[in-house]
Structure formats: C-alpha cells, structure tokens
C-alpha cells in the first residue's frame, strides 16, 4: 500500500511537471507532436528507473559510507550523463527502429531536471531500494501523462486561432496552468 501511494503521489498528485516544475524544458519543447511526446515519455521513464537504481546505489554505497554527501550533485549528474550515453550506444547497436523511436530522445534527457530532481528526492527522502524504483516509475508515468495530454492538446491547438504572440511556449504554459488547476482536484489523496 505504501508503494502504491508513492506511485500515485509521484504520478498524479505531486506530478513532477505540474506540481514540482521539473522537466519543463522538454515539456514545452517536445510536446508538440503526440508521437514524439509518447516516445519521449517512455524514454524518460526508462532513464528515471535506471537513475533511481543507480543513484540509490551510488548514494547509499559510495557517498554515504565515505562521507561524501557533498559530491551528490557532480557525481549524480556525471553518472546520469554517462548512463544515458551508454544506453543510447547500446540501443543504437541493438535495434535501429528502437533507436529511431526512443534513442534519439536520450541526449535530451541528460539535461532534464526531472531526472536529477528524482535522484535528489530519493536521497532526500531516504527511500529504500524498492521505493526508489517505484518512485522512479511513478515519476516517469506522471511525466509521460503530462507530456501526452499536452501533446494531444497542442495538436488540437495547432488548428486553433491562438493569438500570434501566444503561439508555442506561452499557450503551452497557460494550458499547463489550467491543467495544474485541474490536477489540484487530486490534492489530499496521498
């Protein structure tokens, strides 16, 4: 039950994008097409789970034992970057279609603050291993949800008569604001 709550909390109630403002850059950048949004979402979820695992291990088995908590930021980011790079390499080698669908989104994920945020949350909240993984899955699902909803809306908005200055990022942000209002309905559900 605890795990389920962690999942729902990360995915819906405390949605990374709409409540914590994490991963806004790709949220605005890659939400213009449904196909790329869902690919991006999946790739991010994958990396989030990996990050959750690796950062948990790194934090609890290297940084804490040696009293190196202050190295959190540089070491997390380096590990995430190298991990993403490595995964990209592997995918490229294994399957070209998979690479076209997911792999090309990987470089974008390195500088996604949702990933680093996830790693920091895990160390901050003292999640255990399973909780960390579930948290990663939930956060990824929440990110994907927000991204996919937004992509659907934006595909629709492309047909709309949005004032010129508001096209693109501004209307996306405002839509996200209204979505955030809607997500407030889930408050208190944790």
């Amino acid at each position: 039950m605890e795990l389920f709550i962690i999942f729902i909390s990360a995915a819906v109630v405390n949605n990374f994008v709409l409540a914590y403002f994490l991963g806004i850059c790709p949220f605005i950048g890659v939400s213009n097409k449904l196909s790329s949004a869902s690919s991006m979402g999946m790739a991010t979820t994958f990396v989030m789970v990996l990050t959750a695992i690796v950062s948990y291990l790194l934090y609890n088995f290297i940084l804490v034992p040696f009293g190196l908590e202050f190295l959190q930021i540089p070491s997390f980011i380096l590990v995430i970057a190298s991990l993403v790079q490595f995964v990209e390499m592997v995918i490229k080698k294994i399957s070209q279609p998979l690479y076209r669908a997911l792999g090309i989104f990987l470089p974008l994920i390195t500088t996604n603050c949702a990933i680093l945020g996830l790693a920091l949350f895990i160390s901050m909240r003292d999640y255990n291993f399973i909780e960390s993984v579930i948290f990663g899955v939930g956060a990824g699902a929440g990110f994907t949800l927000a991204l996919v909803i937004m992509a659907g809306i934006r595909e629709e908005l492309e047909l709309a008569d949005v004032p010129k200055g508001f096209r693109g990022a501004p209307i996306t942000l405002i839509t996200a604001g209204i979505l955030a209002l809607a997500f407030m309905g889930f408050a208190g559900m944790i």
């Binding site: 009293g67 070491s75 590990v79 970057a81 790079q85 470089p107």
Partner: protein, 267 residues
Amino acid sequence: MELTFWIALATMGGLGFVFAGALAIADKKLRVEENPLIGQVNDLLPGANCGGCGCAGCYDFSVQLVEGKKPVNGCPVGGEDTAKAIAELLGLEAGASVKIVPRILCKGGNKEAVKKMTNYYGPLSCKTMHIVAGGDKLCTYGCLGGGDCVEACPFNAMIMGENGLPIVIEEICTGCGICVKACPRDIIEMHPIDREVFVFCKNHDDPKTSKAVCDVACVGCGICARKSDGGIEMVDFLGVINYDKLDPEKIPFEKCSTGAITRISKN
C-alpha cells in the same frame, strides 16, 4: 580530512575516467556514416540538447534541418548568430549566385480584369476560389487575388496590393519559391533578379475572348514574336519567352496594345 579529500578526488576522477572511457569507445566503435552536412550543422549548434526547438536534441534538429523539416532559425538558444552561420553553410551547398525572386505574371488587377456578374461567397483563398469556378474574375488563367502567396510567404516578403495583385518585396525575399507552389494558377515564376523582359499574362484564350476578359491580357497578336528572332514563341495565343535567345533590344514594347509584354528596369 586528508582521507575525505583523496577519496573525493578519486571518486570524481574515477567517474570522469569511466565516462570518458565509455565515450572514447563509443567514438571508435559506433560511428555511423551519414550526410556530412548533418555533422557540420550539428557543430554550429549550441549542443545544450534543451529541446527548445521541438526536436529530440541538437543532433535530431540538424538532421531535420538538413532534411528541410526545420527552418534555419529554428534554434531558440543559438539565436540569430547560429541561424546566420547555418544559412551560410547551407547557402554554400546550394551554390546560388544570382538572387532569384518571384515574378507575378499577371497584370489583371481589380480594375483591369473583367468581373463576373455573380458574387463569389466562400473562403477567400485562391485555392478554394479556383475550385468554385474561379472566384470573381472572368479570366480563367489570371490572378485570383485571394492572397495565398502572401499567406504562404514565410518571410512576409509579399503584400497584397490595393489593386488585388500581390507585390514582392525583393529586399526581404529569399527566393525560396514557396509562393510558386501556393498559386493554384501557376502565375508566379522564379526568375533571376536581373531578368528584365516578361510577358505579364498567362491567358491562352483567343484574341476575342482574352480581350473580353481582361484589359491587359496578352491577346496573342504575335507582333513581339515576329520581331524577336525566336526569343519569343507564340503558344496558344500567348507569347512565351525563351530567355536564352531573347534580345530585349529587338522587342517592340510600344507595339503591344495591352502592355502585356513589358521591360522592367531598375534604377
């Protein structure tokens, strides 16, 4: 303190080592052959992989740019400098030397062209007018005045004149030719900017009909063709210019009763 210092040093150094090693291997083993242009464009980009352009990272952007799916100024981070650099790079590839601009080969504005007695109702776009018997004007070849080319121009280099004919602002025009595709009646043609002589008409009707539909149509009298030594050929009552053979000096512009063939000079 000493120990922590050294461990910190070793941890970060080690991580760096692993990462660099992985990258080095990747660099060696997984290099994929591709259009060299993509790499060149990629080098010009900021490389922040921020996704602001809507692509999956800078590399994806350069691929799409080279494939023509993204504009040169599509990178919001790089800004104008990057756009210019890329444009230069691509310009070198295209090898364009003389500027090419669109010419609107119809003079039948709202005054000159004869109107139908029916009023067209519906979307005011050339394409849609074209499928409903051609809008308000009787001429079935000429400009419809719906402004599809103006709409289509990505650089706002075209405006709709007061007489219902589009005007090209040559300073802004990049010669992309999108307006040509936008015109359902194929009135717009791309020409080098220094070309001077044009037949500003596309009407293939016989003399009587073309006179009836427009004051400034090419009526197909053929005077210009006869004097041109093969520079102009009459095709179905319309003068068609062969620019390889054309000698502007030989053309009796003043003899053209409707002014359809005109020499434009810039000074």
